[in-house]
């Protein structure tokens, strides 16, 4: 299935969920409305698309832009040997999106990581808890507003003034 056909098929199935389609250095990219993420993913997982693997989920903080947080999903289809990148923008204030837990099992940890690093909430996630940093860590480390070298020790350290 070529890329044009894929877009056609997704549009036919999900209406206006797809806001745009582009090509970045040879990778196919779909931009989604953030409200439709879960519905699109659920459809892409099934035939005829068969994107069976959620390869990766991450986020980018475009600090100045209107859609500040951009979620980036990478899907892989084992049967057709193609990758697909999907993006959805979230606003700066209270960014949240529907969870993918239930569709893919690794979504639970991937979403926890994005929550930890960016503070994006995933609606319906069963256990949205920090994963790489610790309880008591204030702020979200990968946000552009978080200073690179601001340490938050858990125990008193020698040499602290």
């Amino acid at each position: 299935m070529g890329q044009e056909n894929l877009i056609e098929a997704i549009r036919a199935k999900l209406g206006d969920a797809v806001e745009g389609v582009s090509d970045s250095f040879g990778d196919a990219v779909l931009t989604l409305r953030s409200a439709a993420v879960r519905a699109v993913m659920a459809a892409l997982r099934e035939a005829p698309f068969e994107y069976a693997v959620l390869l990766d989920l991450t986020c980018v903080d475009f600090a100045a832009a209107e859609g500040r947080f951009e979620l980036v999903y990478h899907l892989y289809s084992l049967t057709r040997n193609v990758r697909l990148r999907l993006k959805a923008s979230l606003p700066a204030a209270d960014p949240s999106v529907e969870t993918l837990v239930g569709l893919w099992k690794n979504a639970e940890w991937l979403e926890r990581e994005v929550f930890d690093m960016f503070g994006v909430r995933f609606e319906g996630h069963p256990y949205l808890k920090r994963i790489l940093t610790y309880e008591g860590f204030e702020g979200h480390a990968l946000r552009k507003s978080y200073p690179w070298r601001l340490e938050q020790p858990r125990i008193p350290l020698k040499g602290d003034v």
Partner: protein, 158 residues
């Protein structure tokens, strides 16, 4: 009293000699340096030649704490607990640049040197240090143990 002084010095030497060749070490391995620790412990470099071959995975049985690899702020309380659980006499080797100073990771997540958490006896720099460096560091520690002054207060109590 000069005879007693002579005896004390000899006893110290004997204790130092005994201790330096029977280091039971606890490898607190977290990261990259662990690979070089493995190399140092195995056949090619063989840390056992210097009497430090016995690895103990319980801090209560160990007298040398080898902190191998980056210590993040999340892990810092664990390292402190492990050190506190060890019995005296105990020594600490900071293995690798991350434990010495935070190394190349000067950022929000990493403790800038484990001497901010626990006292350190020997620093082995390198990212990661080669096994030869590790052995050199171990020899330096043995030298230090040999010349360590004993605390005789326990003997005077009786």
């Amino acid at each position: 009293m000069s005879g007693l002084d002579f005896l004390t010095t000899r006893l110290e030497t004997a204790i130092g000699w005994g201790r330096k060749f029977s280091l039971f070490h606890y490898p607190f391995i977290t990261a990259c340096c662990g690979m070089e620790y493995m190399s140092a412990a195995c056949a090619h470099f063989d840390i056992d030649r210097f009497g430090a071959g016995l690895t103990r995975f319980s801090p209560r049985q160990a007298d040398l704490l080898l902190v191998v690899g980056t210590i993040s702020h999340k892990l810092a309380p664990v390292l402190k607990t492990v050190y506190d659980q060890m019995l005296e006499p105990k020594w600490v080797i900071a293995f690798g640049a991350c434990t010495v100073s935070g190394g190349i990771y000067q950022n929000y997540a990493v403790v800038q040197g484990i001497d901010r958490i626990i006292p350190v006896d020997i620093y082995i720099p390198g990212c990661p240090p080669r096994p030869e460096m590790v052995l050199d560091g171990l020899l330096k520690l043995q030298d230090k143990i040999q010349h360590q002054k004993q605390d005789w207060r326990w003997a005077r109590k009786t």
